[in-house]
């Protein structure tokens, strides 16, 4: 049995989770990574995606997160997300409207750099939508 460590999920408006967790899977900018107790200190920005938390009682909670960063240490993991919504509270429309916004951004992008950034965001959001449909 893996040991528990302290996990915090913070949104600008409120503290969503501050509890024990066995394992947390974070959608990092450069790929998903799992965090367990004793993780090496790591700081990573996050991309839009689903964050999975496995609790000591075996339950798995899922949150949609967007924008922000994660700070992992040996004893604790803190995720600061600009937007964080429990997956069960998330409706398909919310994602769809975000995808629409992203599509507009791609169209409106003035230079290649902005366009690329917008396209990346769009594809990430599409992934989330697909993942939600599958589950």
């Amino acid at each position: 049995m893996a040991e528990a460590f302290h996990f915090e999920l913070v949104a600008p408006e409120r503290l969503l989770v501050s509890d024990e967790a066995i394992e947390v899977v974070v959608p990092g900018t450069e790929g998903q990574f799992g965090v367990m107790k004793g993780h090496a200190p790591l700081m990573s920005t996050i991309r839009p995606g689903i964050l999975k938390v496995r609790r000591p009682n075996g339950n798995v909670d899922e949150y949609f997160v967007r924008g922000g960063f994660a700070e992992a240490g040996a004893e604790a993991l803190t995720v600061l997300a600009e937007q964080a919504i429990p997956v069960q509270d998330l409706n398909a429309e919310e994602i769809r409207s975000q995808i629409q916004d992203a599509e507009e951004d791609v169209k409106d992008a003035k230079n290649d750099e902005a366009k690329q950034a917008a396209e990346t965001l769009l594809s990430q959001l599409r992934e989330v939508e697909a993942a939600l449909k599958a589950s």
């Binding site: 949104a11 990092g28 900018t29 790591l42 990573s44 920005t45 803190t78």
Partner: protein, 290 residues
Amino acid sequence: MASLKDLRNRIASVKATQKITKAMQMVAAAKLRRAQEAAEAARPYAERMETVLANLAVAYEGREDAPALLKGTGGDQVHLLVVATAERGLCGAFNTSIAKLARDHARRLIADGKTVKILCVGKKGYDVLKRELSQHIIDTVDLRSVKQIGFKHADEIGARVLKMFDDGEFDVCTLFYSRFKSVISQVPTEQQLIPAVFEKDENAEGVVYEYEPGEEEILSDLLPRNISVQLFRALLENVAGEMGAKMTAMDNATRNAGEMIDKLTITYNRQRQAQITKELIEIISGAEAL
């Protein structure tokens, strides 16, 4: 001398006013609790953000390749003042004291020959500042219709400030708001947003983090976010402060109205008795004359 009827009317009107101020005080008290909770809930995020950024910023101190948001544009000719006040009045000196701090700052800058641009958030600050500095005010953000301030409102303002910065419209950005210390004490505060200033944490733990992606990317990702976060915090503190100030102001108003009613009632009673006495004298002296 006011007649009895006049006095009665005045007492009635002061009573009506007292009822209103009393109601406003109770509304403010209820809102204060919510605003305070919101401000407290937002604190962890802002604080974590600041610690992380402070750690990162130390590494970039004095370096040429530091992001512009951190080291500034190099000049300090054009100043942008973001003045966050309440949308409504009747809260004592709350709005005035923020506006006053901003005005003094602006005056100093103008005296030094700098260019000043002002972005007002909240109508009341605009009302005060437009008297003297109207040609400096570039715009006002109206949050009047907003019931509960969300992160997206702050984000909109933040995006605007960043866009102006990217377009080279100013060199230094300072935010003015009121820090909520307690219900009876709100401290007008100025905070420099761009270039970002961080309090140095001397006893920062010596943990070496692995950064993913690189430090630079993280920093350039977080600095713009930090602007919105700081704005958000300022707005929430402002709402809590406004409600606190309003509660105190309305409490005073209610008490003053009470005192006024007491005074007026005494005058009214005296006059009524004087009139009765006068009438009696008239009757008696009339009877004696017969």
